[in-house]
């Protein structure tokens, strides 16, 4: 009988040692901040075809940032996934003909716990098929930290064509 008591005690003490020895782990998500001056785009902003805009945001993490990606796709059916509280006035629902679509992933220099993007993104006027569709689009930002925590931000934006003056 004694042997089993011993086994049991061993088990419990082992558990206790382990629970106390636990090193601190990172359980904080990185943050996407669009509140700095010059940040672009904000929810409901407009971006123009045939122009280059600068994506500017400040990313931060308690330890080290990982990477990020940008995705821009049509929201003509108002399917949403905006993560923002403010809702924008959307154009009427319509059927896409030749929508613009942009997906790209980017690295962040190793060791950064804070990073300000100054990313130039060129929006072409059209492709081989024709001019891209104007209208409601989603601007989706995904950010990770080194541990694999992630934050997403979905913005409603307008993609427009400047009228020739």
């Amino acid at each position: 009988m004694k042997r089993y008591h011993f086994l049991f005690l061993l088990l419990i003490s082992f558990a206790l040692i382990l629970a106390c020895n636990k090193e601190e782990i990172d359980d904080q998500k990185p943050e996407i901040d669009l509140d700095i001056s010059g940040a672009f785009p904000h929810n409901c902003d407009s971006i123009y075809f045939d122009e280059t805009f600068v994506f500017k945001a400040i990313f931060s993490d308690n330890t080290e940032l990982g990477s990020y990606s940008i995705e821009l796709h049509q929201n003509f059916d108002h399917h949403a996934h905006s993560t923002e509280v403010i809702t924008c006035d959307l154009s009427p629902v319509k059927t896409p003909v030749n929508p613009f679509h942009f997906i790209k992933s980017y690295t962040i220099p190793d060791g950064s716990s804070e990073y300000v993007t100054n990313l130039e993104i060129e929006v072409p006027n059209g492709n081989d098929n024709n001019d891209f569709d104007e209208g409601d689009y989603h601007f989706f930002i995904s950010l990770t930290d080194k541990e694999g925590w992630s934050t997403q931000k979905g913005l409603n934006i307008n993609l427009l064509r400047r009228t020739v003056n």
Partner: protein
């Protein structure tokens, strides 16, 4: 097959030798009218031999030794009779049984069966019958079982849930029904277990590794469903169950009919459930920073329905029992409309809020068909059992077409699948088991067995997660139980398994722009190349039981394994519901776990306490690791999750205590705790996903004496305290602790000659708003259902037909 039978016989006869067979026990089992009762089960203790009475109601045991025995006779619909005997030669003991008014489902678990499990199984097992299920009826089978120590569930809405045993779930828990492993899409977190809880008669939860009997996957434990019940001869009977739940306006009914004429019997059951959107104690849900208002506290589009059908029929002979179980479980239920998975969605509020009962996009439909034959032969010291099973699992996820990633903005009209079919999993499973048990002498019992399973998995729909595949697995085991002395038992078993998986290649149905040296080239990306892998594993287990009058002790130590599944080997797609691009690893090795289990139980007249600690080590736990990378071509800009393997240590346990305050007032306590830590790899120091928080359930039950026409009345109150869960892995959220009060009461009511059972529950009595760490919707901050009143009425009926 023949040579295998020969092998089994050889294995089990090696240890046998000549014994004098002059000790005989025989007798006749009769009913209340002194007519013979064929098919009654006669159990003899402590030799653990069972026979079934023949057409004349006669049973016979050949024994090895003179001495004291206990004979236990049970028959469906009759009160179990137990007799202590002192057998010194040839004895004839006739036993008369008297009927009790009950349904097929109200068969009490034979007392000696529970005792056997408690004292003679080295593993920790919880046993539950339909009475427990009706008193704790939740929205789905696993939800009703959540009260058991060490059992938790992963919830998906109000009508679906998945089992979890001591923090392990998905493909690490096996569900077995009538000997056949239930095969659905266990790996998915967004649908539940396809089992009709009204058809459950007897259920056992084996905590800890059980690869020995069931091979791959049984690494965390087993949920075993058994149907013992065979109607008594010349009867026709059945039951009507009606149930209602206030929180999601559930109405449901389950009707069963059974009959038996001599050796043939038939049992039929149909269940229908229909429920509306469930209500939560909040008027809006914060999906990230996006606030989705709720109408009338209703979780938009979480309504659903279930339609199930079961038939069981068979032949009952003296030494032979062959039963068929055929079932079809069908469910359709909506997903919360404001978020598809974790992805917030704009909702057509007028469409969705028109009715709480309708189901719109996104929704899922699951159909599980199952046909099983289970045959048993009993002859002197042999018990041979075979099981054959066929299953078809079809799961469809339907949603409005959205062009994710590089999919065309408009759904092409020449596709082989409809635009709203997001994913389809179509699985065919063929299983066969053979098992032989031989009572070698009154000290030793040897069981050996063989099992095989073949799976054919097809996929369809616009989304890609796992490729189509075929899979074969087979295993053979031998297990022995040896009585060391009057109060200690030794168990030893070994098993060998083999598995092969063939994965089909898959290419996207749409083109993606691939940046190459020659500029951008549009290609149909290959998501999965053809892949074939073979696996094998040798596992073992050793156990020990030590039983004193007031103290039981059990120790079990074993090795278990799990073959990597298709998703872990070959996933290569975006899970849009989780913003994750999941990448399989074709080089994964089978997961190996070692586990030490201890069970102690101390009982006295008014008090009982059981403690069941465990220590578990995985040398290569398969883990979906969220990395810091993003992928633009295959992953459409989503975060990459890689399947990796890491060393994992887990420990924990349960504590279970009862105390009889007075004759009619009982107090109880159930506590559970699990700790997990990854010891290597990228997430070293982190826990595992879906780690159940520690909890304590305090329980008070009043069981007054029967009065007037009220029998077995009870009133119970459960107070459950759950700790916060701060041990999380990406992308989980920490969950705060909470307290929930549940109330239950009921009785058997005898009005005139017609009895019926009534169970009433108030779940979440204080209408607490709390988050369950184990809920699929936890990440988008959906609280658990608010207060709910649940009523269940069972009306049995039973008639004798011409004798």
């Amino acid at each position: 097959m023949k040579s295998f039978l020969g092998f089994l016989i050889l294995l089990t006869t090696i240890t046998s030798s000549g014994y004098s067979q002059s000790v005989l026990l025989s007798g006749k089992v009769t009913d209340e009218n002194n007519l013979p009762l064929p098919g009654a089960t006669v159990w003899l203790m402590p030799v653990k031999k069972g026979v079934i009475t023949n057409a004349e109601g006669i049973y016979l045991f050949e024994l090895f030794q003179k001495g004291r025995y206990t004979v236990n006779v049970s028959f469906l619909g009759y009160k179990t009779e137990t007799k202590m005997l002192n057998i010194q030669g040839k004895e004839t003991i006739d036993i008369q049984l008297f009927p009790m008014l009950q349904t097929l489902q109200e068969v009490e678990i034979k007392d000696n069966y529970l005792e056997r499990i408690r004292k003679e199984d080295a593993r920790n097992i919880e046993v539950v019958n339909d009475v427990f299920l009706k008193q704790n009826l939740g929205g789905s089978l696993m939800k009703s079982l959540e009260r058991l120590p060490g059992v938790s569930t992963i919830e998906i809405g109000s009508g679906q849930s998945k089992p979890m045993i001591r923090g392990l779930g998905f493909n690490r828990v096996v569900v077995v029904e009538n000997g056949i492993k239930h095969e659905g899409q266990q790996w998915g977190s967004d649908h539940g277990l396809e089992i009709d809880q009204f058809a459950v008669e007897h259920l056992e939860v084996i905590k800890g590794p059980a690869s020995l009997m069931y091979g791959s996957d049984a690494i965390g434990g087993i949920i075993e469903l058994k149907q013992f019940g065979i109607p008594s001869n010349n009867t026709i009977g059945g039951s009507i169950d009606m149930t209602g739940k206030s929180n999601n306006d559930l109405i449901g009914s389950s009707v069963s009919v059974f009959t038996r004429k001599n050796s043939l019997y038939l049992i039929l059951r149909a269940t229908i459930l229909d429920y509306a959107d469930y209500k939560v104690p909040t008027d809006s849900i914060d999906i990230y920073s996006f606030r989705a208002p709720l109408y009338n506290n209703e979780m938009r589009n979480t309504a659903g329905m279930e339609k199930n059908f079961h038939a069981s029929f068979g032949i009952v002979k003296t030494y032979y029992l062959s039963r068929f179980f055929v079932s079809r479980v069908h469910s359709k239920n909506g997903f919360f409309a404001n978020a598809h998975g974790l992805e917030p969605r704009r909702v057509d509020v007028t469409l969705h809020d028109r009715s709480a009962r309708d189901i719109h996009y996104p929704y899922q439909e699951v159909t599980h068909f199952k046909a099983i034959n289970r045959t048993e032969w009993m002859k002197s010291n042999w018990h041979i059992e075979s099981e054959f099973g066929f299953q078809h699992n079809l799961r469809q996820e339907m949603s409005q077409y959205v062009n994710h990633g590089y999919m065309p903005p408009l759904f092409p009209n020449d596709m082989p699948f409809p635009s709203d079919l997001e994913r389809q999993f179509d699985k065919y499973i063929y299983s066969a088991n053979l098992k032989a048990t031989r009572t070698v002498n009154n000290k030793m019992l040897v069981t050996s067995g063989l099992s095989m399973e073949h799976q054919n998995n097809r996929i369809d729909g616009r989304g890609f997660m796992i490729p189509a595949f075929e899979q074969f697995s087979g295993g053979a085991f031998i297990y022995g139980k040896y009585t060391l002395s009057g109060n200690s038992l030794l168990h030893l078993g070994v098993r060998y398994d083999f598995g092969a998986i063939d994965i089909s290649p898959y290419n996207d149905w749409f083109e993606s722009p691939n940046e190459t040296e020659n500029g951008i080239v549009n290609t149909f990306l290959q998501r999965a190349p053809a892949l074939s892998r073979n696996f094998s594993s040798f596992t073992w287990a050793a156990g020990f039981n030590y039983n004193l009058e007031k103290l039981l002790l059990k120790v079990n130590f074993g090795k278990s394994f799990r073959m990597p599944i298709a998703k872990e080997l070959a996933a290569n797609g975006v899970n849009y519901h989780h913003f994750s691009y999941e990448v399989g690893n074709p080089d994964l090795s089978p997961e190996i776990a070692y586990q030490l289990d201890i069970g102690t139980e101390l009982t006295s007249k008014y008090f009982a306490i059981g403690i069941t600690p465990f220590l578990n080590y995985f040398s290569n736990y398969i883990y979906l690791n969220p990395s810091s990378e993003h992928d633009q071509l295959y992953g459409n800009g989503n975060q990459i999750f890689y399947y990796t393997q890491s060393k994992v240590l887990r420990f924990g346990g349960e504590i279970h205590a009862h105390f009889d305050i007075t004759k009619s007032l009982k107090a109880g306590m159930i506590g559970e705790y699990v700790y997990s830590e990854q010891l290597s790899g990228d997430k070293k120091g982190f826990s595992l996903p879906f780690s159940p928080p520690a909890s304590v359930l305090l329980h008070l039950k009043l069981v007054p004496k029967p009065f007037y026409f009220i029998d077995k009345p009870y009133l119970s109150i459960d107070y459950k305290l759950t700790a916060s869960q701060n041990q999380i892995v990406p992308p989980e959220e920490k969950s705060k602790g909470y307290q929930v009060v549940n109330l239950g009461f009921g009785a058997e009511i005898h009005l005139k000659k017609q009895p019926f059972t009534l169970n009433f529950q108030v779940q979440n009595m204080l209408n607490q708003k709390y988050y369950n760490h184990m809920s699929y919707y936890r990440l988008i901050n959906v609280p658990e259902p608010g207060r709910s009143f649940i009523l269940n009425v069972s009306i049995p009926f039973n008639y004798k037909i011409g004798t």
